[in-house]
Symmetry: C2
DNA sequence: TGCTAAATTTTCCGCGCGTAAAAATAATAT
DNA sequence: ATATTATTTTTACGCGCGGAAAATTTAGCA
């Protein structure tokens, strides 16, 4: 950690007493050089703290070690968490992840894909906006860069899809709610991605399977301020007496949080105790759901499984190339998290 | 959008009928070339969709157009929001922001600074961990790269600091609480950054100024899972009857959210209506605070002002260099947001 | 039309490193 | 010790672009 600054690999090679190509080889894969030379390099590395110029390296490598991570909205703690765990795994695998948030806008998503293209990444993990995405542009991108879709599916795009099996998770919740009380109605907003549609379908299916009449309540609203949509819509629904059941299954946790705020505002007690008149359940196990009042009963997605699965899948594509066959889809199960709201 | 692929600027220059150096000039500043040639380039740009190689550009430019943005914990919506608005402003100013999250760990923060150094950014906007930060390393970094500290101060480091004036905001809240009910006690966790210390001091000062006896309750806990710390600590405080006042001012919103969950758990009604026995206030106007039950009375930080201010300050440093005088500190005022929890 | 200033073209070098091929050296086996 | 194989060194080229200097063209103006 001492000595003067090293300007480039040439100088560093001189200091370590090894030739530059060998040093270059070392940085590409430390195990590819003999142990004795590795030690000499690492010794110099401690004395001089040299790092190869990022841009020169990436310009010359056939394929960079960059991984792009794109989430639709990073201010949503769910995606922040997904991004965080995925980042970690990429670093552990020796790659350099760069995370981008589309901030809920198609323009940003397209812009990000173009930026990513110019980064020539080895691969990309893309949680797309979903319905709002520019299918053509995403498709073109996927043809050039190995891309794994995460969370939100766009039918047929990308080399693989990793997500949650809504047709497993939603029935799990519906059955629980029916078993423990009044069959739920389904509270949703205009779908931003395919998950929302699948959840509605899954709700309807499982209600019918159980011999109940499904009832879907859709409220207006757009953008990614889901809590606000749930709150505003919730107030309207409550005030108009549109609620057909005293159990409400919300399309996702953030919507449920907004709905709970609306119920509170109207003096309606939510929960499973005797003094409560409304049960509310969500979906996703949003990080804040533990701390709502009452705590939110929901379906948890396995962050670890999703991030590990998606990164491993991508690594395979990077190493072995993208197989030409049909897209590989991996759907994980959700788990019921029973708390006190339903 | 048609035609074959362009391999480099040379080829693109040929297609547009302009020389390569002129094209290069255009990409550095479109207004620096004559209008007629600009049009020729932009016409070709539409036909061929060419972008200069990112790595070659950055390798050769004296200074890159990159801006580093570092937040301590991006899964905290407060910082996600700060990062988002700052990103936007950087892009609008013609720079390429890269956002990193330290995820609450010093090791990550140091790692990020090293990564940033190798990116040779034009400047960095750093919201440091605070107390946990490696002062030496941050200091060394700030000497090499124009750095503006945001939100959390590290005394004397960086070229400027942009944040909130806790000695304005906290008294605002204390005075409001005293005016409308019982003087508050102060609920805090082990301080993660200087703001926490300043808020405690400001609370004590303003209580004494108003002739009340300050009372600080500190609960244990570490890490960035503030809600959990507030919840766990809140339960303990409530169960042990440690609360000296029926008004609680929490050091930040996330802590308040946890505390509210604890109060709910113990059947204590929170709010300002007659049937309530506890008032809880927070600080920061966390995006989620509107939707707590009851909605959280808090102090709002002006995201726009902070992000605009910090980016503009940094741009000045990038253009004119960092002045040698004392560090410039800008403190914005917080605003009282009255909701229904206090 | 001629003049001047501005813009562009030509030509060239360099950035720091990946990578390839041939030559030299070191480690291992026989 | 000699043959064999694994590593390293030497040498050299190229990546795509920024930037400088000189030569040339163009635009603006009297």
């Amino acid at each position: 950690m001492s000595g003067q600054k090293i300007r480039n690999m040439e100088e560093f090679a001189a200091k370590s007493g090894v030739s530059r190509p060998t040093v270059s080889k070392y940085f590409n894969d430390p195990t590819s050089v003999r142990k004795s030379t590795r030690l000499r390099i690492e010794e110099a590395l401690e004395r001089y703290n040299f790092r190869p110029n990022l841009y020169a390296v990436n310009q010359n490598r056939r394929l960079t070690k960059n991984i792009g991570i794109v989430v639709p909205y990073v201010a949503d703690p769910f995606f922040a968490e997904i991004a965080r765990t995925i980042e970690r795994r990429c670093i552990d695998a020796g790659f350099s992840p760069s995370t981008f948030s589309s901030h809920g806008s198609v323009e940003h998503e397209v812009e990000i894909l173009e930026t990513l293209r110019s980064m020539r990444p080895a691969g990309v993990l893309l949680a797309p906006l979903g319905r709002a995405s520019d299918r053509k542009k995403v498709e073109a991108f996927c043809e050039d860069v190995p891309t794994v879709l995460v969370d939100s599916n766009i039918e047929g795009l990308g080399a693989a899809f990793i997500g949650l099996d809504n047709f497993q998770s939603v029935p799990l919740m519906v059955e629980y709610l029916c078993r423990t009380g009044e069959p739920p109605c389904f509270f949703e907003m205009p779908p931003v991605n395919p998950n929302a549609n699948k959840r509605r379908s899954a709700y309807i299916q499982s209600m019918e399977r159980l011999g109940h009449t499904p009832h879907v309540i859709r409220v207006e609203g757009q953008g990614w301020d889901f809590e606000d949509i749930g709150y505003t819509g919730g107030l309207r629904v409550l005030d108009n007496g549109e609620l057909s059941s005293r159990t409400v299954l919300c399309s996702n946790d953030r919507l449920a949080i907004g709905f709970m705020a609306a119920a509170y505002e109207r003096g309606i007690r939510v929960g499973i105790t005797k003094d409560c008149t409304l049960r509310i359940a969500g979906h996703d196990d949003h990080p804040f759901s533990r701390f709502t009042c009452p705590s939110l009963t929901t379906i948890s997605q396995d962050y670890e499984a999703i991030s590990t699965g998606s990164v491993e899948t991508l690594m395979n594509f990077i190493e072995d190339g993208v197989p030409s066959g049909p897209r590989r889809d991996t759907l994980f199960d959700g788990h019921l998290v029973m708390r006190s709201s339903a």
